[in-house]
Symmetry: C2
Subunit: 397 residues, 2 copies
Amino acid sequence: MPNLIITNIRPHGGAETSITIKSGRIAAIGGPAEPGLKVFDGHGLLAIPGLVEAHAHLDKTLYGMPWYVNKVGPALLDKIDNERASKRTLGIDAHRQSARQVALTVGHGTTHIRTHVDVDTECGVTSIEGVMATKAAHADHVDMQIVAFPQSGLLRRPGTLELMDTAMRLGADAVGGIDPCSMDRDPKGHLDAVFGLAQRHGKGVDIHLHEPGEMGAFSMDLIIERAKALGMRGQSVVISHAFCLGMPDVAAVDRLLADLAAAEIAILTLGTPSRPVPPLLRARAAGVVVGTGSDGIRDTWGPYGDADILERAKILGMRNNLRHDTEVEQALDVCTHGGAKMMGISDYGIAIGKPADLVLLPGSCLTEAVVSRPVDRITFKRGRITARNGAAAFQVP
Amino acid sequence: MPNLIITNIRPHGGAETSITIKSGRIAAIGGPAEPGLKVFDGHGLLAIPGLVEAHAHLDKTLYGMPWYVNKVGPALLDKIDNERASKRTLGIDAHRQSARQVALTVGHGTTHIRTHVDVDTECGVTSIEGVMATKAAHADHVDMQIVAFPQSGLLRRPGTLELMDTAMRLGADAVGGIDPCSMDRDPKGHLDAVFGLAQRHGKGVDIHLHEPGEMGAFSMDLIIERAKALGMRGQSVVISHAFCLGMPDVAAVDRLLADLAAAEIAILTLGTPSRPVPPLLRARAAGVVVGTGSDGIRDTWGPYGDADILERAKILGMRNNLRHDTEVEQALDVCTHGGAKMMGISDYGIAIGKPADLVLLPGSCLTEAVVSRPVDRITFKRGRITARNGAAAFQVP
């Protein structure tokens, strides 16, 4: 494992100092360089903890494949049915494609990824197996969590629940769910199944909740009730997207935020520009842990995204109208500590004893780094360089 | 003036062809190269018309100055008052700063800029004079229109109207206005003054309308009434931002869009992620001309923006939930032909006889170019290269 000292860097935009790394972990911050230790000169760059991609869909990006001309219908089920068919017709190989997205993601400075991976009656658990192979192959480059994700519904397609159980036995890290009302048309049945799987396998849950307004708030309440009843604290329950928290009824939103905070349920937001989204600062002020991610990038759903989590800080800032430097720094914190906490990772951060997962990047301050999106970043995973200048330091298919 | 042939390019993503340029204008599309003509090999790049920055504030960016730590108060007047004071305390020189933003903007592929320039009782018309000097200095690099802009209000600060008149006599291209209800608290007085100036100087108007919902719709109706009464057709009236068109009442929005189309009034939208915005496709389907721009970048209002109009196509696409390739192409069209039409520029486009204002850029198709934001673009203004790889081919202070 690497031993070195990184000199002349500014952790979190503070004063210039050095970080000594022993066996891939931070052994000292500041102080003189030990004789004989390898020196990496940071030349005054900023240093932040590794970026956290807390919501990806690695198994189904089309990145690196021929351009896909999108003509998919407008409904959610149009997109889901089209995607299930496209996996076969386009040959979307979960192992190959997830490896490509890992390289793209790490290339921008990410050291931790949570990915939802499709489980359905057509692909079975082959996508889970493909992404698990990628996770193993890139264990030195990124820490990965896999959520078994019933994209096509859990109850409406018989056999899916059994496949989800298989996915968990194969080693998935959390049980996924999706839109308990609008997808399966049976919120009680859907959530009992999701939480039942989680209990059986001793894992957390991470539920896609696109449902807007009062319907989403109802589903959110059902999730909160189950998390409390089962004693699932400490962010072991995550609600992704949580668009209902963007509804106009501020009092209702504040009540939900208070309940989420009390139940220690985390949320994940992308700052989706076309949808109502959770109010970032208000959620954090209420004590709710907030992470962020890329969601699907360049897939059969849409052409956007390049898996740059630093860019996501900018999108969160623009979506939430964050203008002060201290506010933009909060958006960046969501991309680092927020995501780590959401994923239940305590072994994280620029502190003695933590893994040396770092990004060095130019900028006079953190906010300038967020809005300038510098290409010339240097990423360390456990003290080893995994990416420079926007490109991973390793090869993928 | 340049004579050359650009070979192996794909205009608008179509089949590979060549463009012959004589005296800076497009003389032929396709056909054999004339003997002796200088050849520029496009190596299969896409070709689009020059990008159009149809709403900038060149006079007050802080780009290239020391980082500004933003702590400004939340109200609109906080920002306006802070900015007026900051021009003096920070030394924001309109000539120097506008030249810097011209280089940044052209560097990304822009060939036409409309900029609003502050006129108020503190800076007088010095910002107008500074930007006019930039316009003259960079006439070979970009075509520029200057809107005299009463940022601090027109009636509420006595003396401003006379200064606006002076700005128009100095050669400003259009009369600006801002929020007739909420800023000057006198919509009739404000709009009569704006349209009066326009009539006196024989110019068009371009009014910032941030007012949301029914208040904005009321102001919009007052603008439409005046445009019709004065016979100001052909996009000589522009409404910038037009947030009221993002209000939930679809029937009211459709009525306004129909009236705007009938009156030949154009709108400008940034796809602002934090605000309601005009529905892009519905506006265009209704026959309304739509342009886009960067608005203020890196200024005392906020830290965002890099004046990349291709990036703006992506923001418009994400904000309006455009997923089909044909939809993203419409967002790109807003960044080229839409802006040109909004600015009243008919001498534009990839067609015989038009100025050779072109951007060459990589991508298998237009949508891929929009979502990938390639750095390696080549920009031609009247047949001369003005930018490559994200940097202007000319120097600024």
